[in-house]
Amino acid sequence: MARTISFTEATLEAMREEMRRDPTVFLMGEDIAKQGGIFGQFKGLPDEFGIERVRDTPISEAALVGAGVGAALAGMRPVVDMHFADFITCSMDELVNQAAKLRYMFGEQCTVPLTLRAPDGITKSAGAQHSQSLENWFVHTPGLEVVIPANARDAKGLLKSAIRSNNPTLYFEHKALFPRKGEVPDDDDFVIPFGKAETMREGGDATIITYGITVGRALEAAETLERDERIAVRVVNLRSLWPLDYDAIADAVAATHRVVVAHEAVRVGGVGGEIAAFIAEHCFDDLDAPVIRLGAAHVPVPFAPVLQEAMYPKAPAIAAACRDLVRKVR
């Protein structure tokens, strides 16, 4: 059985289920208990679990993440909310030099079961400091796990897996996804394993490899291409960027021979580059056309709505890239 609920509700269910299941799970963040989170994603949690387990903190991301790392080392399973993913930059030492390294440096005598919830991505004119997608920095950092849900089902399944994981996990949730509704399984123990991509749509002409909010844009592109031009496109939702499902990528290249990699993060130096390079190294003989990367322009996200909307790949641009590959324009 499945129900249709919003992405926000899916994360709330995940939090409630995991907090009921495990008393060491608790939440910290700015304005989460009193306000309920900017997107209502913590609403009602203090009523059930109390303000000891749903804690408002001062505005210091370094202190917040540092406290999370300490609590995790001491045996708790903290979930730390970053308010905006952009603010992770204020806690880079705690995250990159401490959380990511400790399990390795202490020979597994300790683990850091920390979940960092990081609302990211472009919404309506949130400005350059509140609109970024920074996942590639953390994919590049050994010791961290990075997951990005594309819909309500992913949101619930990945968040529960993140909380249960013994490694520090970055859970990036796109701000524009919170109100979106989707089907979620009824099962209280529904989790999505890390490192397993999901094929959202089959198609033999090309593959769009993507994640997060861009999955929806890719599906829209694929549906348009199928309906109007009879171009059949496979859409692969990576869900987890580290560990990364390289097998699913190789399978898609072998099946369709043409690939578009799309994300909202800046194209230059983005995760798409890692995927394209992997394909060039390991799937060379399967390629019938160059791999096309789509991502945001290499500029700070503009405040001006017109400029903002022009700077990242949406469905028409993704469809155009697929069409170019299939029609042999590129």
């Binding site: 003989d285 390629l287 019938d288 056309a289 042999k328 324009v329």
Partner: protein, 374 residues
């Protein structure tokens, strides 16, 4: 400095040559211009003459080995030069040079499929950007079925070296989507004309008629490499020789008289039988004619010879029952008539049935009314 003997390039389309036999052994003396070895290409068997005098110092490759044109296949040391002075030479695998020095642009997946199906990727027309050869181009080129396992990689062990080219070419051709149109034409008038004149034959008539018609039917001379019509209307004529099929070319047949064409065909056929064809006799043809009439057979459906995309098969003119108007009346009667079966085989990727039929009908009209050609 020891002289290098290289695989000669015999004609524009030659991609590899096969060593048939060495006529000299290492250590033997050889004079300038003396035959050194025999090589075979897809069109010709050819004696390679030494380009230097001295001692054959080294041979590279044995009978049956294939080399690209320009590859070093032997070393001749001049008097006084020692063998060790000979430049170290590595055997060069039969890797033909890319056309015009440019790399063939093909996608990795297309190259892999071409390898799997033993197709020379350069023979495939690319449909992608910059003419990139893509997966479906190779798939279309090799069409329905991949080559049968026995046909592609290895030659049967007892196959004569001279037959390898035919073996390989036919294996490739078998994968093309060939279609045919056929007609039977009343050639009473042409039969009488050939008997009366005695200075040309059926093949010469077909060559001249086809060459002139090809000018008006450019799609029939489509070149599979470019997809565009071949600029010339030269005609290949299939010749039976002791070592197998050879196809020398009649040049400028569209501008030649019947008798002149006939004389050229006779010369080429004799040279082919005697093994005396020169490289110049193997220009690129736009079209080929295969005439089995001399063997008395009524019909042949030949295989297209890529990069050509069409070929005519002619049988023997024989007396057959034919429906004709009774002279002086309007009545149809069955009467004996000199009849000739013409088959046009064509590569359906490039040529549709209707234009093929139009070409064949126009050709049949020339055969029925030879005065149009005189």
């Amino acid at each position: 400095m020891p002289a290098e003997i290289t695989m000669p390039k015999l004609g524009l389309t030659m991609t590899t040559g096969t060593i048939v036999r060495w006529m000299k052994s290492p250590g033997e003396r050889i004079a300038l211009g003396e035959p050194l070895l025999e090589v075979s290409t897809e069109k010709i068997n050819y004696e390679v003459e030494s380009t230097a005098a001295g001692t054959l110092a080294k041979t590279i490759g044995n009978a049956g080995d294939e080399f690209a044109p320009g590859a070093v296949i032997g070393i001749v040391a001049a008097d006084g030069e020692t063998l060790s002075a000979a430049a170290p030479v590595q055997p060069v695998a039969a890797r033909p040079p890319a056309t015009n020095g440019a790399r063939t642009i093909a996608s990795p997946a297309a190259r892999r499929l071409a390898r799997e199906r033993s197709v020379d990727v350069r023979a495939v027309r690319g449909s992608g950007p910059r003419g990139r050869i893509t997966l479906d181009d190779v798939a279309a080129y090799t069409t329905v079925a991949p080559a049968s396992p026995g046909a592609s990689p290895g030659y049967p062990p007892e196959l004569p070296a001279a037959r390898r080219t035919i073996f390989r070419r036919m294996s490739e051709i078998a994968l093309l989507p060939l279609a045919q149109v056929e007609t039977v034409v009343n050639v009473d008038a042409l039969q009488a004309l050939i008997e009366r004149r005695g200075d040309f034959g059926w093949t010469a008539f077909a060559v001249v008629a086809a060459a002139r018609l090809l000018r008006e039917h450019p799609e029939i001379r489509t070149d599979a490499r470019s997809g565009a019509p071949h600029p010339r209307c030269d005609i290949g004529v299939a010749a039976d020789t002791p070592s197998g099929l050879l196809v020398p070319v009649v040049r400028d047949a569209e501008r030649r008289a019947l008798r002149e064409t006939h004389d050229e065909i006779v010369r080429l056929a004799r040279a082919a039988r005697d093994g005396n064809l020169g490289a110049a006799d193997f220009g690129e043809a736009a079209f080929t004619i295969s005439n089995v009439g001399p063997q008395g057979v009524q019909r042949v459906a030949p295989l297209v010879d890529p990069p050509q995309t069409a070929i005519l098969g002619m049988g023997a003119a024989t007396r057959r029952p034919s429906v004709v108007k009774q002279p002086g009346t309007n009545f149809d009667v069955v009467a004996p008539a000199w009849s000739l079966t013409l088959v046009l085989s064509f590569d359906h990727r490039f040529i549709d049935g209707a234009p093929a039929a139009r070409f064949l009908a126009a050709l049949a009209a020339r055969f029925a009314d030879p005065g149009m050609l005189l």
